[in-house]
Structures are given as C-alpha cells and as structure tokens.
C-alpha cells in the first residue's frame, strides 16, 4: 500500500512530456547505409526539462519521434564509456552533457569523429579494440608467482604513479579529439598509450620491454604532435597526452641507449 502511494507520488512530481513547454532543436547526423550514400542531418524538436542529458534527448527521439535512430549507451552515469559522440563538434559523453546548456539555440550531434560510421551515431570500433588487445592490458608478472605466495603488495606511493592512467573508461573521446589519429588511423593513439603507460608504470608489472616495441614503432608515439585536445576532452582526467609525451622521452632515451646496450629490433 505504502509502495503504491509512493509510486503515485512520484508520478505526480514528474511532469509528463506533453506538459513540458520548452523544446530544443536537436540536429542529428543520420547515416542509414541501406538508403543514404552519405550522412545527412535531420532535425528533431525535442521537449526537455533542465535535468535532461543529451542522451535522454536522443532516447526521447527514439521513443517518440523516430524509432530507427541508432546510438550506443548503457550506464547513463559516465562510467561505461559507451555514449561518446560529437556535441556541437566537441567529443562528449552524451550522458554527461546537458540539453539546458544548448537552449535555446539547439545542438548538433554527430558520431564520434575519426571513426568510420556504422549507422547514425554508432561508429566502427574494431580498430580501437584491436589496439587495446595489442598492448597486453594486464599485469605481466616479473617472475611467475605461486598462489601460495600470496598477493602482490604495492605501497600507496607506487600506486600513485599510475592511478590517474587507470581511470580510462575506453570511451574513445580522445581518439575523436586527435587529428593525427584522424589523418593516420595506424597511430596507436592517446587512450591506448595511456593504458599502456598505466601497466608499464605498475610496480607489479614486468611487461614494459614487450610493450615498448609498439611505442618505438612507426605507428607509435612520434605520430603525436602535442595538440593536447585529447586530455582536454577526457571525461576522467586521464591526461593521455601526458602518457604519450612521457613515452616520447622514454623512446628517445631507448634510441640512444641502444648504442650502449644493444638489444632486439623494434616492430
């Protein structure tokens, strides 16, 4: 009984969409491969309240205006990294961007830049996933350790060295912010370099040597020209530009040190 009353209460406190007076024009870049030869803009008038995110605006379109609109989303709270898209040309998590900030002018939503568009706001992320796998994003122990020997220990200071880089949620906003990746998709790119750096800096890890081959390679860090926009758009303050640039120094050191201590070739 009490539950029913609470439900009733909640219904009354939230206005129905038809009662909302404010509407905002949302331009969406549509691409339906079966009918469009290239992406086209479509405008929707979306009623909204001040607490509505851009993602909720898209959900409104899908539920009430055009059910064929495709986009990725999951958690609605900036932790799954699924709903990245271009909002007025800026790579943004649509769940963390609010419609009220674009009122009354409206906004334009496009699929994340620099990735092929699969359909509407859905991009092809195969390249990112392949790169993610290639850097061995897990701890490679220095020496094999038996379960009976217990856990690996790490001091807070040792953790601080990599913690920031471990906050990455693989949302790919940094790739959409990186013109060098857009110009040459072979470049490892900011997010993956940050993750690579995260494992290399971990005191429990012994895989640096294996990962550095990629850092030194033709597709490695020197594709970066320090634009810095990747760090600017990162919703988790990972600062991928920092990871990339620290590794430029590491790579340069390695280049010169190999004359002193020769070792295997780069990739």
């Amino acid at each position: 009984m009490e539950l029913q009353a609470r439900r009733q209460n909640r219904k009354e406190s939230r206005p129905a969409m038809s009662e909302i007076e404010k509407t905002i024009p949302i331009e969406v870049l549509r691409y339906r491969p079966e009918q469009d030869t290239e992406p086209v803009l479509q405008t929707f008038q979306v009623p909204f309240t001040d607490d509505m995110s851009v993602l909720q605006g898209l959900q409104y379109i899908k539920d009430y205006l055009d059910g064929s609109l495709s986009f990725r989303w999951s958690c609605r709270m900036a932790i799954c990294g699924s709903c990245g898209m271009m909002v007025n040309g800026k790579p943004s998590l649509s769940c963390k961007t609010f419609l009220r900030d674009y009122y009354p002018g409206g906004l334009r939503i496009e699929a994340l830049a620099h990735f092929p568009i699969e359909r509407d706001l859905v991009i092809v992320m195969d390249d990112f996933i392949e790169k993610l796998e290639s850097i061995k994003p897990y701890i490679i122990p220095k020496t094999p350790r038996a379960l009976s020997e217990g856990e690996y220990l790490q001091t807070p200071e040792e953790r601080d060295v990599y913690e920031q880089f471990s906050s990455c949620i693989n949302c790919m906003l940094c790739y959409a912010a990186c013109p060098q990746y857009g110009l040459n998709s072979k470049f490892v790119g900011p997010g993956i370099m940050a993750l690579l750096h995260r494992y290399n800096m971990d005191s429990r890890d012994g895989g640096t040597e294996q990962r550095m081959e990629l850092v030194h390679s033709e597709d490695g860090v020197f594709n970066c020209t320090a634009v810095g926009y990747c760090s600017e758009v990162c919703p988790k303050h990972v600062d991928p530009a920092n990871a990339v640039n620290i590794n430029k120094t590491e790579s340069a050191k390695d280049y010169f040190l190999r004359f002193v201590a020769p070792k295997g070739a780069a990739k």
Binding site: Y31, P33, E34, E38, P39, G89, K90, A113, H114, P116, I117, E118, V124, D126, D127, E130, D160, V161, P179, G182, L183, S185, K186, T225, A226, V227, G228, Y229, S231, E232, D239, A241, N242, N245, I246, K248, T249
Partner: protein, 137 residues
C-alpha cells in the same frame, strides 16, 4: 583498418580535409604552431648578421643600418609578438609533456610548471636585455 564487412554493412569514412577549421581548439593549435615560422625567421636574420660580420666592418655596418629601417622595425615588433605568444603556448603545453615531478612528496601542479617556465623566460629575457643594453651604451 578494414572494418569486417558482413551483409549490408557499408561503414562511412568521413573526410579529413579542412580538419583544423572545424574546432577553435585546432585553429589555436595551428596558430601557435605557426608562430614557429617567426622564430625561424628571426634566427635567419641573426644568421645573416653573423655572415655580414664575417665579411668585414662595412658589411656589418650595412646590416646594422638595414635593421633601422621602418620595415625592419615593424618586422621585429611582429616577431616579438609571435615569440611571446609562442613561449606562452609552449609553457602551457609543457605540463602535459613532463613526467610527474615530486617536490617534498607532492606532485608539482601544472600551474606551477607553466608559471615556472614563464618566469624563467621573463628572467632570461630581462638579463639578456640588460647585458645588451650595457654593452651598447
């Protein structure tokens, strides 16, 4: 990268032409990278000075004379503005390029690195200006 093609998939790759005009951040990036040309141009002017010095007193004086022309002064003012902007943006990006620096157990903030660099530039410029002033008077 080749997206795996299945059935009706036809991934669309957007062109990159004119990419730097799409975002004010990229426009600023191109401008601050562009100031490097002014730095190079000024280095060339100095280099010409060294060459003229090697050619003897008359050549050297001719070069000095040329620097007094209104065009040369306007050029130097332009270069000065470009150089100041170049240094400003250079030190702004600096915290992103350095490994973490720890002072007394705390990580040095980006603001501290940037202002440190700018202060060092201002100090070096002031010292240089003072030395040249002393030598020329």
């Amino acid at each position: 990268m080749k997206p795996r093609a299945i059935g009706k998939r036809r991934p669309y790759v957007r062109p990159m032409a004119g990419w730097w005009r799409r975002n004010p951040f990229f426009v600023e990036y191109m401008i601050h990278e562009g100031t490097a040309f002014f730095v190079a141009a000024y280095a060339l002017v100095l280099l010409v000075g060294v060459v003229r010095l090697a050619q003897g007193e008359a050549a050297w004086n001719g070069w000095l004379q040329a620097l007094h022309s209104p065009v040369a002064i306007a050029f130097h003012l332009l270069v000065l503005v470009a150089m100041v902007y170049h240094s400003w943006t250079w030190f702004n990006i600096m915290p992103r390029t350095l490994p973490p620096i720890f002072v007394a157990g705390k990580r040095l903030s980006a603001t501290a690195i940037t202002s440190g660099g700018l202060a060092a530039t201002a100090f070096a410029s002031a010292v240089l200006l003072l030395v040249v002033w002393r030598l020329s008077t």
